[in-house]
């Protein structure tokens, strides 16, 4: 077995059957090394969430294999999956998903409880982690008393608490302003670089490309080459070059996610031209 933290082979997920059959993920192959940050992007309904759910041992694939830290998830019985999630994975969700009745410390401590850490040992580890993230003065605060950035830092501390091999992050910068979003990306990058954790991020946020070692584009359940992608200069989304919405200005063709973005660009092109970046920095697995 290779040293990959995650290895996925010919992963398929089909929902429904007959006329209602939907192939959400189609023959995906992927390897993520320890310490690597992989960003998966794609339009809504492309299969990102389904792929993330299968990588996180929450959803059974229809076919294919997933190895995490040397363990074949697809071969494990259902009853073993919660323990595997508790010990091998760290999760960062959109909207933070902290438990509202628990304090910051208890939110982290609870993840440690699930991973087999109890009592003072768990409490002290939770306090240390939150202290490292600058939340030492917020230990007893419940989520409704924390700012968005503080909540997400608690969520990342929770994800790192059990010393996971893999961190799966679902839109970790959504609902955060650019400064806090940048800080969250930095924390995830640091976890990968310094602690050799593999980080898989699913996001629409193109700013995350800066922190990623690889950027993958998922569409219709398949990875596609990022070289075929461009960035919508208005909203920043990655879009296919063969997309319907494009506009030629000053001898250059621009691509858009929607007619609305195209029309907005066409009104005052100079306003958007400077920030436009053509995508394609990613490499395929």
């Amino acid at each position: 077995m290779a040293t990959s933290a995650i290895r996925v082979e010919k992963l398929e997920k089909v929902f429904g059957e007959g006329q209602t059959e939907v192939r959400a993920v189609r023959g995906v192959d992927l390897e993520v090394e320890p310490g690597e940050v992989v960003l998966i992007m794609g339009p809504s309904g492309s299969g990102k969430t389904t792929l993330l759910s299968m990588l996180g041992a929450m959803l059974r694939p229809t076919s294919g294999q997933i190895w995490v830290d040397g363990t074949n998830l697809t071969a494990l019985p259902e009853a073993k999956l919660p323990e595997l999630r508790a010990r091998r994975f760290g999760f960062v969700f959109q909207d933070f998903n902290l438990l509202s009745a628990l304090s910051a410390r208890e939110n982290v401590e609870l993840a440690l409880n699930f991973a087999g850490w109890w009592g003072r040992q768990a409490r002290e580890r939770a306090e240390r982690l939150l202290g490292d993230f600058g939340l030492g003065e917020r230990l007893s605060f419940r989520p409704d008393k924390l700012s968005g950035g503080e909540k997400q830092r608690v969520a990342i501390a929770r994800a790192l608490a059990n010393e996971p091999a893999v961190i799966l992050a679902d839109e970790p910068t959504a609902n955060l302003d650019s400064k806090i979003g940048h800080e969250i990306v930095r924390l995830l990058r640091r976890a990968a670089t310094e602690q050799k954790r593999s980080v898989v991020i699913v996001s629409h946020d193109t700013r995350l490309k800066e922190a990623a070692d690889r950027v993958l584009w998922l569409e219709d359940g398949e990875f596609r080459a990022m070289s075929q992608m461009a960035t919508d200069p208005v909203c920043g989304m990655s879009v296919e070059r063969e997309g319907t919405f494009h506009f030629v200005h000053d001898g250059q063709t621009w691509f858009f996610c929607s007619a609305q973005c195209r029309d907005e660009f066409a009104g005052v092109p100079e306003r958007f031209r400077q920030g436009a970046v053509v995508a394609g920095a990613g490499r395929r697995p």
Partner: protein
């Protein structure tokens, strides 16, 4: 084991819901405790005449083991027969009949006791007035208050009118009271000469030995005072048992509905968080414990609140309604606590099933 108390935190995070749930369940527990306490209190008061009697043994017609709703008739000759037995220090007859004290303003059910002046079986203490003379009656002060009577007033019972000579205390309960007249007046009113209802006996040996000796030498039934009182109380409890059981069941069902509803709504409001816990690796058993601990905290707090309210109610009733006594004890609290645990566990069943159905993938769905 030092785990984060998620259930307790969830319960008390929404204080209004927790307070309503606890108050509702406490009300159902209070209903059970108060009913049981009132029946126990009434039973205790019902046997007070027997419990405070100087007799070691109560002797009755063969087969009769209590007073309430019983008919016991003995020839007075049995009194002499018993007095002649070894170890018998004294033996005095009483006449007994259930009836009603009647005045122009109302009625009060009563046990009427006819006793011989100078003998045992009459009032132990008088709070006012004197022992009954011919044509006179002693009634309980609470009954006198309820019927707006006083010493030297008059009241009808046993088919005639009596002058009140004195008042006793502590012999009125929610069901009835006790009144005392002279033996010969009672016999004359009921036209039962040379007959007694019961014979009260004191002796120089233990009550059990004395009772056995009387039964061995007569054709009568003899019971130690404690046993006679127990029989009397058991009969009263049996009479109220069915009503008590129905009311208790109804109260527990109300408690079950409240706790089930509170837990279920609390669970529904946290399905997303339950999904998060599942995603983070919570085992189904741990999530069941989270729900169950909320149920048990609700039951525990409700029981504590119900006990405080029950004792407060007892205190208030003792000062405002003298004929209602609430008697609490471990015998009432322990079954309510155990019943509460059962209610809590049953109330947690539907929420636990709902929790099991939560898909951890739901945390990614928006």
């Amino acid at each position: 084991m030092g785990r984060v108390p998620v259930g307790r935190r969830n319960l008390f995070a929404e204080r209004r819901r927790a307070a309503l749930g606890i108050a509702g369940v406490a009300a159902s527990f209070l209903m059970v405790l108060a009913l049981d306490g009132i029946v126990n209190g009434a039973t205790r008061e019902l046997t007070r005449y027997i419990d405070t009697s100087p007799a070691d043994v109560f002797v009755a017609q063969r087969g009769v083991t209590n007073m309430h709703m019983a008919s016991s008739w003995l020839p007075l000759a049995n009194v002499k027969e018993i007095r002649a037995l070894p170890s018998v220090s004294w033996a005095d007859p009483i006449l007994y009949a259930p009836d009603a004290l009647t005045t122009p303003t109302g009625q009060q059910l009563t046990y009427v006791i006819g006793y011989q002046p100078g003998g045992r079986g009459g009032p132990i203490t008088l709070s006012a007035g004197s022992d009954p003379g011919p044509g006179e009656i002693v009634i309980d002060a609470q009954a006198a208050q309820d019927l707006r009577l006083a010493v030297e007033g008059s009241v009808s019972v046993l088919g005639r009118t009596w002058r009140i000579s004195g008042l006793t205390s502590g012999l009125t309960n929610i069901a009835n009271t006790v009144a005392f007249v002279r033996f010969e007046d009672f016999a004359g009113s009921r036209r039962v000469p040379d007959i007694a209802s019961y014979i009260l006996v004191g002796g120089s040996v233990s009550p059990d030995s004395l009772a056995r000796r009387i039964e061995a030498n007569t054709e009568l039934t003899a019971l130690p005072r404690a046993g006679f009182s127990e029989q009397e109380g058991a009969l009263a409890r049996d009479m109220s048992a069915q009503v008590l059981q129905i009311m208790t069941l109804a109260a527990f069902l109300i408690g079950l509905a409240i706790i089930g509803l509170v837990l279920y709504t609390a669970t529904l409001s946290r399905l997303q968080e339950i999904g998060v816990m599942k995603a983070l690796g919570a085992m189904p058993r741990r999530l069941a414990v989270v729900v169950l601990s909320q149920a048990l905290w609700t039951v525990g707090m409700a029981l504590a609140l119900a006990l405080v309210l029950a004792f407060s109610l007892s205190w208030v009733l003792a000062r405002s309604a003298g004929n209602i006594t609430i008697a609490f004890g471990a015998s009432a609290v322990v079954p309510v606590a155990l019943g509460g645990v059962v209610v809590g566990v049953l109330g947690a069943v539907a929420p636990v099933i709902r929790v099991r159905r939560v898909d951890p993938v739901s945390v990614f769905r928006r």
